[in-house]
């Protein structure tokens, strides 16, 4: 098992290096320059050059790459953000909690919805309920996140103004007590978490449904029923215990979708997470920050995959012995 893990870990590191190297060079192909920020701002060529010199952007690209890689690998130094004038790591650490909160809430929404709907659909296979759930989830799954975001904002913030349309906290949140602040956060979290969670729930629901249908047709379920166990117990305890194994793997694999969905959701809802940070850093051509943000997302995605592999290996010895 340890050899398996080491092998997977080494492969993951290599993959991360590849992602970052490609990103590093592709970024420089995009037209634009970190010193062109705003309209009407007159930066003389001499000033632009001094800034580039200060940030090492005047050196040949391979040299910049080597210096950047050395700093990251040897000192864990991700460099200085050109648009925020602070260490990249501190900009990322500031944004990480917001994304973590949104992503966890979205996963909770996604799996709660998927389990409830998937089980309901599987138990009443080919009924009206099943059809309604399948069509409904397909519909949700096919909506672009930004559109879905704007629609819920329109519905719940303007037509029926019950929830805030943007931001993580109210204007006067800094005057609230800890409990008030937490409730305020929950209110702000509701819409973006629903949008991100529900748009991912479509696929997961179908997965739950298929997985449970398969499990429910097996002999041990029939045996459980024959023992006179309640239907609730049969489905949720005996059925789901087995149907849930692939779901855990799916969860780990859904990290990329969650992060890319979060980028758009965060921009639509002014949520101050990694997505917004990445978006703004691209507009500003803030190379070190883009690379840092890419590294962080890539690491999370690769970790997700690694976790999925490990989980798979845990449940299936054939994988780890291969």
């Amino acid at each position: 098992m340890i050899r398996f893990l080491l092998r997977r870990f080494a492969a993951s590191l290599l993959l991360l290096l590849l992602v970052l190297t490609v990103t590093f060079f592709i970024l420089r192909l995009i037209p634009g320059d970190p010193t062109h920020l705003f309209e009407g701002q007159h930066l003389t060529l001499a000033q632009q050059q001094r800034l580039k010199q200060l940030y090492g952007l005047d050196r040949p690209l391979p040299e910049q790459y080597a210096a950047w890689l050395a700093a990251v690998a040897l000192r864990g130094d991700w460099g200085t953000s050109l648009s925020q004038q602070r260490p990249v790591s501190s900009a990322l650490l500031d944004a990480l909690p917001a994304t973590a909160i949104l992503a966890s809430a979205a996963v909770a929404v996604e799996y709660a919805a998927a389990l409830l709907l998937g089980v309901a659909a599987a138990r009443r296979r080919r009924s009206g309920v099943d059809h309604a759930i399948r069509v409904g989830t397909l519909l949700l799954y096919s909506q672009p996140t930004f559109w879905l975001g704007l629609m819920v904002i329109l519905l719940f913030s303007y037509v029926w103004p019950v929830l805030p349309a943007s931001h993580m906290h109210s204007v006067d949140a800094d005057l609230m007590g800890p409990a008030g602040r937490f409730l305020d956060l929950l209110r702000h979290l509701t819409l973006p978490a629903l949008v991100l969670g529900l748009s991912n729930a479509g696929g997961t629901t179908r997965f739950v449904r298929a997985s449970l249908i398969e499990v429910m047709s097996q002999d041990y379920i029939r045996a459980a029923r024959a023992k006179g166990l309640s239907e609730l117990r049969v489905v949720w305890v005996h059925g789901m215990r087995n149907a849930a194994v692939p779901l855990i793997q799916l969860l780990a694999l859904s990290l990329p979708a969650l992060l890319s969905g979060a980028l758009i959701t965060e921009v639509v809802f002014s949520w101050p997470g990694l997505g917004q940070l990445t978006f703004n850093s691209i507009l500003a051509r803030d190379y070190p920050l883009i690379l840092g943000a890419t590294a962080l997302s890539a690491t999370l995605v690769i970790l997700g995959n690694l976790l999925a592999d490990v989980l798979h290996a845990v449940v299936d010895p054939r994988v780890r012995d291969a």
Partner: protein, 552 residues
Amino acid sequence: MLEKVKALRASSFALLAAGLLLAGCRDGTEPSGGSSGAGTASPRRGGTVVTGWIGEPGGVNELIVPSSQVTDELMHRVLLHLLEEQPDFAKHPPTLAPQLAKSFEWSADHKTLTFHLRDDVVWSDGVPVTAEDVRWTWQAQVDPAVAWDSVDHKRRITDVEVVDPHTVRMHFTQMYAKQLLDANEGVILPKHAWEKLPFAKWRQGAEWFKAHLVADGPFTIASWQPGQQIVMQRNDRYYQKGLPYLDRVVMRVVADQASLLAQLLNGEVDFVPQIAPGDARQVQANPRLELIPYWFNLYVGVAWNCDHPPFSDPEVRQALTMAIDRQTIVDTVLGPYGRTATSPILTSVWAHDPSLKPWPYDPAKARAILAAKGWRDTDGDGVLDRGGKPFAFELLTNAGNKPRADATVMIQDQLKKVGIRVEPRQVEFNTLVSQTLAGTYDAAISGQSLDTSLDMTENYHSRSIAEGSNWTRYHNPEMDRLLETAAGQPDMPSEKPYLEKIQQLLYRDQPMTLLWESKRLTAINKRLRNVKPTMQSSLFNLKEWWIAPETH
């Protein structure tokens, strides 16, 4: 010479005296600004105002943060200048009213400027603001490791000398028109609080400066939630007793124009510095809101790449101007909030040359000029050609700006009528800047702003093609000479004849077909009183804003 210098000294004092007067009562030159209720009731203290912005301020230290409107607005409410530039530039160069400095005087040779600082200004931690802060600020401004964007303003200052705690003397290499503006460029920074971070570490210190901020302006920063909001609160140690009236001002960071408008309409936000002309009607229809339109210092036009034939020929550029119906474009995209522009020095500015009238819209004449230059439709495809090449070009503009995008399409249609094929293309802003600076474009609709120094060297001097922002790559020895002569004048009023000649030359040569100058549309909740945005700053008199009592 000596008499001239004496006269100058006298005029400096006159400017100062005018400034003192203005600090109390503002003159009426401010273009149609000012919210309802100003001066009709006595101001009330207290309350919180929520302002909405697209984009977040970059930080609190202007020496390391790229200048942007939202950054400058925040910084200038928190840290003070020696003198405060007033928005009274309609009839004369702007006055500089006392701020940290209560007065100043020039030496006989006009190469030494002595500032007398107020002795009652303290930082928000109680430490007095002194001449040491002024000297140290200058040292930071010119330090190569700090690499301040605007360091050019200080290149002719050789030393800043502390005479006593409240007297500071600046030494210049020579006498020139913008000495006082250059001396006043940049806010004064708190030496005792910020000198702990060595200059070499400033470029990564944005967070450090936020954490170690002390303010001498009317507001301090109470909290800063990145990507969310910044809360300013009244600085109780501000030297003007009784000001500001407001307790707190929240700067809410909003992702886009649509969300900002929505938050204004539903009352979450009280103040938006700029709304799109297309949204004006919605704001006006809302009984709780008020629209404040005022002329703004950005002019928009089609920049022609004067290095690329056929745009290198001034007569072809004139023909292009005459083939574009600028009045119709302005009426369509800006309605009542714009007018056709004739000069980079806008109509509402003292040095504008009123003799310039917009070029006529005359497609027939444009066609005749082009025909005389050999451009004819020889193959009958509706597009002019010369030597087998059609008259066709790509017209760039930055994405996300509706008036400009609409204008590209209208220009495409209008130029088609004289036989020119235009391909409009929208590119991301950063890409547009790169292409225009590198000169890899034919034509681009772009906006340029001219600050109150009215120095156009950066935009039109041939030297600035390589070193500055001369996007049009316009080069004319006469223009270079005029720009240099204007900059070498002893004071700004003496620049006027040269500025007029510069405007006439630009008008004749049309390196840029000016489309419009426009009004900025600030929208406020009517509960706000005494809101007077200016061309330079939306929050100019924030310290004098107050909230009207609820009427119901």
